[in-house]
């Protein structure tokens, strides 16, 4: 699976996430020269708390962890991406909600699914990414 990090210790996984958030925190408006907004503070804070809870849920149940790509989008929302060989999981973290996009091909209508991610579904969505 692409972008897997061979399961380093939890403190390293946590630090890898924290370092990405540190980079994002420095962004100002037009940080990418595409006129994207700087990260929304509420989205940013929500994302940090969400990622802690999500990582804890995955690891405490004994599943492998994959290093995500964390960034922010045009509107300043935090985005998180995981890439597998056949599946991708994308998150858009808003102030009060986490939206997930499951991707198993390029067709938007037939190979992508979009919904709100609830805590009870953390493991379900992770196992979909890992095992299908």
């Amino acid at each position: 699976m692409a972008y897997i990090n061979n399961n380093p210790p939890l403190d390293i996984q946590t630090r890898q996430i924290s370092e990405q958030f540190d980079v994002i925190a420095q962004r100002e408006d037009n940080w990418d020269e595409y006129e994207s907004k700087k990260p929304n503070k509420l989205s940013f804070n929500h994302a940090k708390h969400f990622m802690e809870a999500f990582l804890d849920t995955v690891v405490s149940e004994g599943h492998s962890w994959l290093t995500p790509l964390i960034s922010s989008d045009e509107d300043g929302y935090i985005t998180v991406e995981w890439y597998g060989e056949a599946r991708q999981l994308h998150l858009q973290i808003e102030a009060n909600a986490v939206v997930y996009i499951q991707v198993w091909g390029p067709n938007i209508e037939t190979e992508m699914n979009v919904d709100v991610l609830h805590r009870k579904d953390y493991l379900t969505i992770w196992k979909w990414l890992l095992y299908g």
Binding site: E74, H90, I101, P106, N107, I108, E109, V114
Partner: protein
């Protein structure tokens, strides 16, 4: 519409991709290229592409000297959303389309347009541009580099 104004399904399209890894438009994992959705970011939600047939050389489509170029096929872009609306006056309308949009500086300029209301669910309508960026990145990853970053 002049027949030359219509971007045909078999036409190749160039997109400039920022060449520096820290700009997060692509990653290399064990040497394997993956173009990221960020590579199709656009404030107007209409990512720009160039019609290859109107460019003598793909390097002319680079926005910066360090950029790379990927190629997309117009028909593959239109097929990203299998939604077509047939009406008596409009014919077939694509949810994702490639529109020729020349500028004085760039006669090859075109853009990729999305019509969210054609999608089948309200969630997909709301996050249509994000989905489009992911889908375009997937196509670009499969096609690979036409011109490597910084290459001639």
């Amino acid at each position: 519409m002049d027949k030359n104004d219509y971007v045909r399904d078999n036409e190749e399209l160039y997109r400039s991709i920022r060449g520096k890894l820290e700009e997060k438009e692509y990653i290399l994992n064990e040497g394997k290229l993956r173009i990221l959705p960020k590579a199709f970011s656009d404030k107007h939600r209409k990512p720009s592409v160039d019609r290859a047939k109107l460019r003598d050389n793909p390097s002319l489509s680079r926005l910066n000297e360090t950029d790379g170029i990927i190629s997309l096929i117009a028909g593959d872009v239109r097929a990203l959303a299998a939604v077509e609306t047939k009406t008596e006056d409009k014919g077939i309308v694509h949810a994702v389309d490639v529109i020729y949009d020349p500028t004085p500086e760039n006669p090859a300029h075109s853009h990729i347009a999305i019509t969210p209301e054609f999608f089948g669910s309200t969630n997909k309508q709301k996050y249509a541009f994000r989905l489009l960026s992911i889908a375009l990145a997937e196509l670009a990853t499969k096609s690979g580099w036409t011109l490597r970053p910084g290459g001639e």
